[in-house]
C-alpha cells in the first residue's frame, strides 16, 4: 500500500474535510499518513491543494513528486487540470463539474472537459446536484469523496466510519446526511466504471 492523492479546489470548498476523513480511515488501518495543506492568503478564494500520502512504509516527503500521483480528486473542474503534471501514467482524475468562476479568463466548460478526457477515463460528477439531493449542497465534498473511494485503496466502510468520526460531534443527522452524500458519489462512480 503506497498511495499519493492530490486534493484540489478553491479556497473554502472543504478539501481539508475530505483529507480528514481519509486520514481517519488510514490511521485506523495502521498506515502512515502525511498531508501537506495550504493555509494563509490563498484560502481567500484562490487555488488550493493538499498533498495526501498514505503508505505502509515510512513516508519522507510531505510533497508528492510530479508524475507519481495515483489520484487527483478535485472539487472544481478547472482546478483538476492545474495538477496534471503530478498525475502518474495510470493515475485517475475524479472531479466535480461545477465551476467556480471568480477569475478573469475562466475557460469554456467544454474545453475543460476535452482536456480532462485526455486522462484515462476521468470520473466527472455533478457534485452540487447530488449534494442537494442528499440534503445540503455543503455535502458536495462527501459526494466527491464517494466518487473517488474506489481509487483510494481504502474500503467504503472504512471511509464511512471516518465520516462518522469526523461529524459525530455535529449530531446523527449531519453524520447521516454526509454518509448519504458519500454513497451517492460512490454509486455514480461505480456506474461510470461499468458503463465504460
Amino acid at each position: 500500500m503506497h498511495l499519493n492523492i492530490i486534493l484540489a479546489g478553491v479556497g473554502g470548498q472543504g478539501i481539508l474535510t475530505i483529507a480528514s476523513v481519509i486520514n481517519h480511515a488510514a490511521i485506523q488501518k495502521g498506515l502512515h499518513v502525511r498531508q501537506a495543506e495550504v493555509h494563509g492568503m490563498s484560502q481567500r478564494g484562490g487555488a488550493v491543494q493538499s498533498h495526501l500520502r498514505i503508505s505502509a512504509r515510512k513516508i519522507y516527503s510531505d510533497l508528492i513528486s510530479r508524475g507519481t500521483s495515483h489520484l487527483i480528486l478535485s472539487v472544481e473542474p478547472l482546478e483538476a487540470l492545474r495538477y496534471l503534471p503530478y498525475l502518474s501514467p495510470k493515475g485517475k482524475v475524479v472531479t466535480a463539474t461545477d465551476p467556480i468562476v471568480n477569475m478573469p479568463g475562466y475557460p469554456d466548460l467544454e474545453a475543460i472537459f476535452t482536456e480532462l478526457h485526455r486522462t484515462d477515463k476521468p470520473v466527472l460528477v455533478s457534485a452540487a446536484e447530488h449534494a442537494r439531493q442528499a440534503g445540503n449542497i455543503r455535502t458536495s465534498n462527501m459526494v466527491m469523496l464517494g466518487a473517488a473511494a474506489p481509487f483510494t485503496g481504502i474500503t467504503p466502510a472504512d471511509l464511512e466510519s471516518g465520516i462518522e468520526k469526523l461529524f459525530v460531534r455535529k449530531g446523527a443527522d449531519i453524520v447521516e446526511m454526509n454518509i448519504r452524500a458519500f454513497r451517492k458519489g460512490l454509486e455514480l462512480s461505480q456506474h461510470q466504471a461499468s458503463d465504460t
Binding site: 486520514n23 501537506a36 481567500r44 484562490g46 516527503s61 482546478e79 477569475m103 478573469p104
Partner: protein, 533 residues
C-alpha cells in the same frame, strides 16, 4: 500509546506544553500562527494556567518571553521569519544576557514566499546571535525536539532558535506523545551584571557567549538530529532540515548509493562534516532556504567539488522538492501531462461582501480627481486591493510602513499622501509612525480599515480596535476634528466619498477609520458563539 495527527505547527505547540511552558507569546503570521492557536485551544487543563493571548507585535512578544525566562519559567515565543526582523533587537541581545528558565523561539520561514514578501532564512539569525539552532524534519521530530530544546536552553543558559518552514508547519502526520513535565517554579535572581547590558557588563557577557561556542559545537556533534546515513557512493550529500526528506525520497526512488549527512542541529558539527568529506569526491549541499552553509563550506577559494544552489545543481531560490534532488543526480521522474494552456491563475481575492471592498471603491473615486494617485499600503487582506479590479494600492513593504512611507513621500512633496492600514497592523507598528507624522505636522491621511480582527491569518484577536483606536490616535496628538469614522458599506458610498475627500484635501495629519467587522469573523462567531476570537 498516545498518538495524534498533528500539523507541524501543532507538534511544536504540544511539545512546548508537555515541556512545561508557563506561557507562549506571539504575533500571528503565516506559517507560524497555528502554534499559538493550538496552545490557546488545548491548554485549559494545564495547571497553573498557560498564558497564551496574542501580543501587539513580535518584539513585545519576544521581550515578554524573555521576562518569563528571567523569572525562571519556561516560555515559548513564535513568529514568522519577517517577524524576527521586528524582534531582532531583543533576540540578539537575549543571547548576550542569556536566560534562566528555558526560552525557545519557534520561527517559521516561508521559502517560495507562499504568504510572505521574502524568503529570508532564519538560520542566519541563529548564527548571528550565536545560539543553538534546531531544525527538525518531521512532525514527530518537531514534538521531540521542542521538548528537548527547553532542556538545552536551560543547560546552556541560552535561548534556542527552532526553525521550521511552511511545508513542515502546514503538513500533518501522526505524532507519539510523551508524558507531561511540570512547570518550573518562580525562580528569579537579581543579576544586574548579566542583565544590565551596559558596556562593561555587555563586553564580559559577550566574551562568555563567544567562549560557549565550542560547547555548542560539541553538543551538535552528539545531537540525534545530526546523523549519517551510510552509502558507498563517491558523491555525498549534506541535507539540512527538511531537505533531508527530499534527499531520502530521491535516494529510495532511484536507488542512489550516496552517503547522506543529515543536519538538524547547529552550529555545524565539524567532525561529522569532515568525516563525510573525507570519503567523497564531491558533495551536494541541499538546504531549504539560503545557501548559508554551502557558501561557508565552499569558502572563498573553493576546494573539493561542492555543488548546490550556488552552481546551479539546485535552484538558487524557492523550496526544494524530490525532483530537484533527483536532477542534481542526473535522474529524472517522468512528469504527467503538462498543464493545459487554458488554465490561468486563480489569485486570492477579497471576500464578497468584505468592507475593504467598499472602502477601496470609495478611495478610488476620491483619488481619481488627483494627478498623483499614490496610495501607500500595508500587510493584511487589503493588500489584495493591489490586484484588479481595484488596483487601488501601490506599496506593501513591511508591517506599519504605509504610515511612515506616506509621511516620507509627503516630506518630499508628493501630495496627497495617503496610507491604508488595518487595525492590527496599525497597533503592531503603525502607531509609532503616526507619532512621527504628528510631530512633523506632515500632510498625510492615514486610513485605518478596522475590521475588528487579524483577518488575513484567520481571525485572531487584534490588540486595538473600535474606540481604542480612536483614543490612540487622539493620544498620539491627531486633532480631534481630523479623526473621522466611516462605515464601509455600499449604502454609505456617497457619505464615505465626502469624508475621505475632505480629509485627503486637508494638509495636515488626518485619520479616517473605516469600521466594519470582517465578514469571515462574523460568520465564525455565528457558527461558534462560544469561540473566543
Amino acid at each position: 500509546m498516545n498518538k495524534r495527527l498533528l500539523l507541524g505547527a501543532e507538534a511544536i505547540a504540544l511539545g512546548a506544553l508537555d515541556a512545561g511552558i508557563s506561557g507562549v507569546y506571539a504575533y500571528p503570521g503565516t506559517p507560524s500562527t497555528e502554534i499559538t492557536e493550538y496552545i490557546q485551544q488545548n491548554s485549559a487543563d494545564r495547571q497553573p494556567p498557560v498564558r497564551s493571548a496574542w501580543s501587539a507585535n513580535e518584539k513585545t512578544a519576544y521581550e515578554a518571553a524573555l521576562g518569563m525566562a528571567y523569572a525562571g519559567k519556561r516560555s515559548l515565543v513564535c513568529m514568522k521569519h519577517v517577524g524576527l526582523n521586528v524582534a531582532a533587537d531583543a533576540f540578539i541581545n537575549s543571547a548576550i544576557t542569556g536566560v534562566n528558565g528555558g526560552l525557545v523561539l519557534a520561527v517559521a520561514d516561508d521559502p517560495s514566499m507562499h504568504s510572505s514578501q521574502n524568503e529570508q532564512d532564519s538560520r542566519v539569525y541563529g548564527k548571528f546571535a550565536m545560539v543553538p539552532v534546531i531544525e527538525p524534519a518531521s512532525q514527530q521530530e518537531l514534538y521531540d525536539a521542542t521538548r528537548e530544546a527547553f532542556d538545552i536552553s536551560e543547560s546552556l543558559g541560552l535561548p534556542v532558535l527552532l526553525r521550521l518552514t511552511t511545508r513542515l508547519s502546514h503538513s500533518r502526520a501522526v505524532v507519539e506523545i510523551a508524558s507531561e513535565r511540570a512547570q518550573n517554579r518562580l525562580n528569579a535572581f537579581c543579576e544586574p551584571e548579566r542583565y544590565v547590558l551596559m558596556p562593561q557588563n555587555a563586553r564580559r557577557q559577550y566574551e562568555h557567549l563567544v567562549s560557549m561556542q565550542p560547547r555548542l559545537e560539541e553538543f551538535s556533534e552528539h545531537s540525534w538530529l545530526n546523523t549519517l546515513v551510510p552509502g558507498s557512493g563517491k558523491t555525498g550529500v549534506i541535507a539540512f532540515g527538511i531537505a533531508f526528506n527530499y534527499v531520502m525520497e530521491a535516494r529510495e526512488i532511484f536507488e542512489l548509493d550516496c552517503p547522506v549527512l543529515r543536519i538538524g542541529c547547529y552550529p555545524l558539527p565539524r567532525k561529522k562534516v569532515e568525516a563525510l568529506f573525507a570519503g567523497c569526491d564531491s558533495v551536494l549541499v541541499a538546504e531549504e532556504g539560503y545557501p548559508v552553509y554551502e557558501e561557508l563550506l565552499r569558502g572563498f577559494f573553493g576546494g573539493k567539488q561542492i555543488r548546490g544552489r550556488l552552481d546551479g545543481a539546485l535552484p538558487r531560490t524557492g523550496e526544494l522538492d524530490t525532483d530537484h534532488i533527483a536532477r542534481a543526480f542526473s535522474r529524472h521522474l517522468d512528469h504527467g501531462l503538462p498543464i493545459p494552456g487554458i488554465v490561468s491563475n486563480r489569485p486570492p481575492e477579497l471576500c464578497k461582501g468584505c468592507g475593504h471592498r467598499d472602502l477601496l471603491e470609495a478611495l478610488n473615486i476620491v483619488m481619481g480627481s488627483y494627478d498623483h494617485k499614490h496610495v501607500f499600503s500595508d500587510i493584511g487582506c487589503y493588500t489584495l486591493g493591489a490586484l484588479p479590479p481595484f488596483n487601488a494600492i501601490h506599496t506593501c513593504v513591511d508591517m506599519g510602513a504605509s504610515v511612515t512611507m506616506a509621511k516620507g513621500a509627503a516630506d518630499a512633496g508628493l501630495l496627497p499622501a495617503v496610507a491604508v492600514i488595518g487595525d492590527s497592523t496599525f497597533s503592531h507598528s503603525g502607531m509609532t509612525g503616526l507619532l512621527d507624522a504628528v510631530n512633523d505636522r506632515s500632510p498625510v491621511t492615514i486610513i485605518i480599515s478596522d475590521n475588528d480582527t487579524v483577518a488575513m491569518t484567520g481571525g485572531q484577536s487584534s490588540s486595538a480596535t473600535g474606540s481604542r483606536l480612536i483614543e490612540i490616535c487622539r493620544g498620539i496628538g491627531v486633532e480631534q476634528e481630523h479623526i473621522r469614522t466611516i462605515v464601509p458599506l455600499k449604502s454609505h458610498l456617497d457619505e464615505n466619498i465626502t469624508v475621505l475627500g475632505e480629509e485627503i484635501a486637508y494638509e495636515g495629519v488626518s485619520v479616517v477609520i473605516a469600521q466594519r467587522e470582517c465578514i469571515e469573523n462574523a460568520a465564525r462567531k455565528k457558527r461558534n458563539p462560544a469561540a473566543n476570537h
